[in-house]
């Protein structure tokens, strides 16, 4: 195969890396385990074949791709290679991520932010210039066309909470910029289960489909199983779910961007086959970005919280100074979930709340019996307890229950495990994203992040991927 770089995964890491690699004139092949999604922008782009997002009668068949949980051993339960969500359930840390060309951009809540931690990139490793990283972040946010919602957007907290006795979202509280088509977009069915009409801006439509005309080769439904050094550089072993056969590709350089969970699975599995190096720091620095999701049975009469942008915005509890970062969401997308009408009507009046903040990214991932395990302690990450207390307070003051999994951390923002550091005993990749001791192998996704950004991480990942790709395109 004539390719200069193989990119594994097409989320924020993979798509932003691919775009810069193509711009440097390199021949790039992108391997993605999920399918292209059937959305209006993809139909318009003429990409074929496509798989439906979970909606209506397709919902239950398309919603789940795979589940890993204790008791299943090394085997993951794979329900459907075209499914959307990949769940890793475990008492120490559960993770939700997704599958399909465009990666997490289909299911995410469209918040495009810089790290909340000040000087996030300062003194991380040689070759990382914080000013340059700020430039990459700004470029990524601009690329997504992101901006905060206007006051007229349905259910936007800045408007809705003006008279609220319990919560507030004053103009001084910075609202997240969102990658959303505010002009002409619909404010429904655009969140966790994808956005069929393209109201939410996703990476397949924004970056990947246009790159096909510039030479990017995308192999969808190609699941990478292992990587290793081969005769001509790197070997990538793949299962092609469409033709149901194994393929073995080679390239001088491989960029891993399969998302934290799956990049770690690939690195661990390949190391266990003796195909990499010892990588003593593999698995160090796991974090969940302090995520605590909760379900608030607020049952606001006449409300329809499923309308609006995927995230309604950031809010605070009145009278609480310096509280954690809290955001609100409706169960946006449940119109496409087959369920009794009365239940749906009830769910539309409730909210999902998410608290997050910089945790210590002090967990460890390990590999035993062919299975990825996380060791992550909520007591070692006091941000979680702060968020638990905030939710308890909301529940107490509102008289409406806030349900969340106390002491069972669940994150949609997993990061670390192949983190960046100059010291191979502390980190897996160097300041250029190249795996220590393995020239030509790079990590361009959230697994390489050196710490929790404390804010939704997609743009931090995009910035890192841009930096890694520019380094490959313009070698020192």
């Amino acid at each position: 195969m004539n390719t200069d770089v193989i990119v594994v995964g097409s989320g924020f890491g993979g798509a932003f890396a691919a775009e810069r690699l193509i711009a440097s004139g390199l021949r790039v092949t992108l391997l993605e385990r999920g399918p292209w999604r059937d959305t209006q922008p993809m139909r318009a782009a003429g990409v074929w074949p496509r798989s439906p997002l979970p909606y209506g009668r397709n919902f239950y068949r398309q919603v789940l791709r795979s589940v890993a949980m204790p008791g299943l051993g090394a085997r993951r339960l794979r329900t459907n290679a075209h499914g959307l969500f990949d769940l890793h359930l475990a008492p120490a840390l559960s993770v939700v991520c997704s599958s399909g060309v465009g990666g997490g951009s289909h299911v995410y809540s469209a918040m495009n932010l810089r790290p909340a931690v000040p000087d996030y990139w300062a003194a991380r490793a040689d070759g990382i210039d914080p000013e340059r990283m700020e430039h990459y972040s700004a470029a990524a946010i601009a690329r997504m066309g992101a901006r905060p919602p206007d006051a007229e957007v349905p259910n936007f907290v800045g408007t809705r909470l003006r008279q609220d006795a319990l919560l507030q979202a004053e103009a001084t509280l910075e609202q997240p910029a969102m990658g959303y088509r505010f002009d002409g977009g619909r404010y429904r069915d655009n969140s966790f289960f994808g956005s069929q009409d393209g109201s939410k801006i996703t990476l397949d439509a924004l970056i990947l489909a246009p790159l096909l005309d510039r030479g990017l080769r995308v192999h969808d439904l190609h699941e990478v199983l292992s990587i290793g050094r081969g005769a001509g550089g790197w070997r990538v072993s793949v299962y092609d779910h469409r033709s149901r056969r194994y393929r073995h590709l080679t390239a001088p350089r491989v960029v891993l961007a399969a998302g934290t969970l799956n990049t770690l699975r690939l690195l661990f599995a390949s190391r266990a086959q003796g195909a990499l190096a010892a990588l003593p720091a593999l698995g160090l620095g796991i974090g969940g970005n302090g995520d605590v999701p909760a379900y608030w049975r607020c049952a606001v009469p006449e409300a329809d919280f499923t309308e609006g942008t995927p995230c309604h915005g950031r809010f605070e509890i009145r009278g609480v100074d310096d509280g954690p970062n809290l955001t609100a969401y409706g169960l946006n997308g449940i119109d496409g979930v087959p369920m009794p009408g009365r239940l749906r009507a009830r769910l539309k009046r409730d909210l999902v709340l998410v608290g997050m903040g910089a945790d210590g990214a002090n967990g460890i991932a390990s590999w035993r019996g062919g299975r990825l395990r996380f060791h992550y302690s909520d007591s070692a990450n006091p941000i979680l307890a702060r968020i638990y207390r905030a939710f308890d307070l909301i529940g107490h003051r509102s008289g409406r229950p806030v349900h969340f999994l106390r002491r069972w951390p669940l994150t949609v923002h997993p990061l670390g495990g192949a983190r960046v550091s100059d010291d191979p005993l502390q980190g897996v990749v160097d300041g250029r994203g190249q795996v220590h001791g393995l020239p030509g192998l790079y990590v361009a996704d959230a697994a390489a992040l050196p710490a929790a950004p404390g804010a939704p991480p997609s743009m931090t990942i995009a910035a890192w991927a841009s930096h890694v790709a520019d380094g490959i395109g313009r070698p020192v």
Binding site: A231, R245, R247, H248, A275
Partner: protein
Amino acid sequence: MDLDMPAIEQPPADLLGQRQAELDELFATLAPVSAAQADGYWRGTLMAILGFGWLPRPLARLWYRLLRTPLNPWRGKSFAQGGGANRWFGVRGPAFGRFKLRETHSPIDGQPVLWLDYDIPENPRFLRPIRGEARMLGNGLVLARMNWQTRRGLHRVLYFTLTPAG
């Protein structure tokens, strides 16, 4: 072998389900094993045996796992001083089916390979047409194939992996 790395006990499960054509593609991507690297005793696992390509993958995996048990008397190979032998009933068990080694290019894909030539006088006549090829899949994991030489050319018979026997 890199001693910092964990020892490999079993070949990766997904190899056992692969067809000959798929393993040919994999084999073509690999770097060769040198005769010096091969020195020692190796535990063998068979896969992609000619005539069993029709087995559905899960059954193929099961079948080749079964062939790793004592039901199959072939246990692996030993290599020393430019030659080697197959080992039966135990990794250090009786040797039968000897070969000489040569670092050369594969006549099949033209890439460097460790060549196992069974055409030596110690072997009974029926073993002499066997030609083996070995390459490195990982640190301490060798992927090899057995071919059968006829007047019309080389025919693939099966693949196997070798892991150090400790």
